[in-house]
């Protein structure tokens, strides 16, 4: 049986205007436009956000620190002619952390873009690299911020005491253990 799943899209979130975007996770969607809605529904209904990006998974070139370790990948990257395009560069800078936006480069292809990014970021430990063309991104519209993200005015839902049944069950269990 063939795979009936929809294609995958990476979801990125910008909490405050001007800050780097961070990777949120993945959603399935029939197309890019729907993936923006799904990304919002899965990751961003409650937390505040300024912007949301979605990118088709197949548009992202990824390399891990292990894959790049012996330098053979880097030496294999050829100089390429052809039209230049802009690429977003994301990196995982901490062992336990999300990928975050670390720059933008202009290059003739994704491999050349990563090579350029690596030389620009020299000295920095990047555990995982992602590069993708700026043109592959669908970003939420500034005009839609209110309807997309501005829902949680109170954060009661994060407070356990907000759910008396949970609190009550915990007390009952604690009583049982005594």
């Amino acid at each position: 049986m063939s795979d009936t799943q929809w294609p995958r899209f990476m979801v990125f979130q910008q909490v405050v205007a001007g800050e780097p975007l961070v990777h949120n996770g993945t959603v399935h969607a029939p197309d890019l436009e729907m993936s923006l809605l799904n990304g919002r529904d899965v990751f961003l209904r409650r937390p505040a956000a300024h912007a949301l990006w979605v990118v088709p998974v197949e548009c992202i070139l990824t390399k891990t620190i292990e894959e790049l370790q012996d330098g053979s990948w880097l030496t294999g990257v050829k100089e390429a002619g052809g039209p230049m395009a802009r690429y977003h560069v994301f990196g995982k800078l901490h062992h336990q952390g999300q990928l975050e936006q670390i720059g933008m480069v202009e290059a003739a292809g994704p491999e050349q873009a990563l090579k350029t990014a690596m030389s620009e970021q020299q000295g920095r430990t990047v555990w995982v690299w992602w590069v993708f063309p700026v043109s592959s991104v669908l970003a939420s519209d500034e005009d839609d911020i209110d309807s997309l993200f501005r829902f949680a005015e109170s954060h009661d839902f994060k407070n356990q005491a907000y759910y008396p049944v949970i609190t009550m069950m915990r007390q009952i269990r604690a009583r049982g253990k005594r």
Binding site: W6, V27, H28, A29, P30, D31, E33, M34, L37, N38, R40, D41, V42, R45, D144, D146, S147, L148, R150, F151, P164, V165
Partner: protein, 253 residues
């Protein structure tokens, strides 16, 4: 405001809340059953939004009637029989397939946005403020529903057939959406007239449907009953949504 106006506006708000709460219940029934995880979560979000809207309308009604803001919404939700509800029949119809549920939401949400646009201008400040908050959420609801129309309507032969069938089944229930709500005749300047929303709704809906190759049925028998009449499905719905609250009246949630 005078007492008579208060009572009329409370009736109006309870009817709005009833629409939201019953639709919220139907949408929540998809939880764990939607065709794909992402849509399952999306529908649960929509259901929770509508639940919040119902609560806002009921709380406003409580204030007008000098009732307790905490208890009154619970009383309305859990301790009224089917004959006391004032929602439109469209929202209580069983979910059917995914096409039916998506299209039902869309038809209803387009009207809600139009109504909220008017309510935001209400001379009664608390109502205008609540409407402004709900309006932003409903813009997203319509966006979600409208996004699905062409994807299902122009998708596969099966998805188109299911959407057209759903439209044929839902269309007869749409005239009831434009009846004046309970209390509305006394509320000029406070709320927009509901019959006045129909033209704008029809223009938008027919255009969106057409771009998804969907056509309202030429002949249909309108089910234009007063809001005091509920479908037989309301009994089943309420027996489920009210069961726990009624089984233990003293319970605190």
């Amino acid at each position: 405001m005078e007492t008579r106006l208060n009572a009329g506006l409370a009736e109006y708000l309870i009817a709005l809340g009833d629409d939201e709460l019953i639709l919220s219940h139907r949408d929540s029934e998809w939880c764990g059953h939607a065709p794909i995880l992402e849509e399952d979560i999306a529908f649960a979000n929509l259901a929770v939004d509508e639940l919040g809207h119902a609560r806002l309308w009921y709380e406003l009604a409580a204030e007008l009637l000098d009732e307790d803001k905490e208890r009154f919404p619970d009383h309305l939700a859990y301790f009224r029989d089917a004959s006391e509800w004032r929602n439109v029949q469209l929202v209580s119809l069983p979910n059917g397939d995914w096409a039916f549920s998506v299209l039902r939401r869309y038809l209803f949400d387009v009207l809600e946005v139009e109504r909220l646009r008017g309510l935001k201008q209400s001379s009664y400040k608390p109502l205008a403020e609540a409407a402004a908050k709900i309006y932003n959420e409903e813009l997203y609801h319509v966006r979600h529903g409208r996004a699905w129309l062409p994807r299902l309507g122009l998708g596969t032969e099966e998805s188109h057939r299911r959407m057209q069938t759903a439209l044929n089944d839902l269309w007869p229930f749409t005239p009831q959406l434009f009846q004046a709500l309970p209390g509305e005749s006394e509320l000029s300047g406070v709320v927009p007239t509901t019959p006045g929303l129909e033209a704008e709704w029809r223009t938008k809906v027919v255009a969106d449907l057409a771009s998804a190759n969907l056509n309202p049925p030429e002949k249909s028998n309108p089910m234009n009953r007063p809001r005091t009449q509920q479908t037989e499905h309301m009994m089943d719905l309420l027996s489920e949504s009210q069961m726990v609250a009624r089984a233990n009246v003293e319970a605190r949630w």
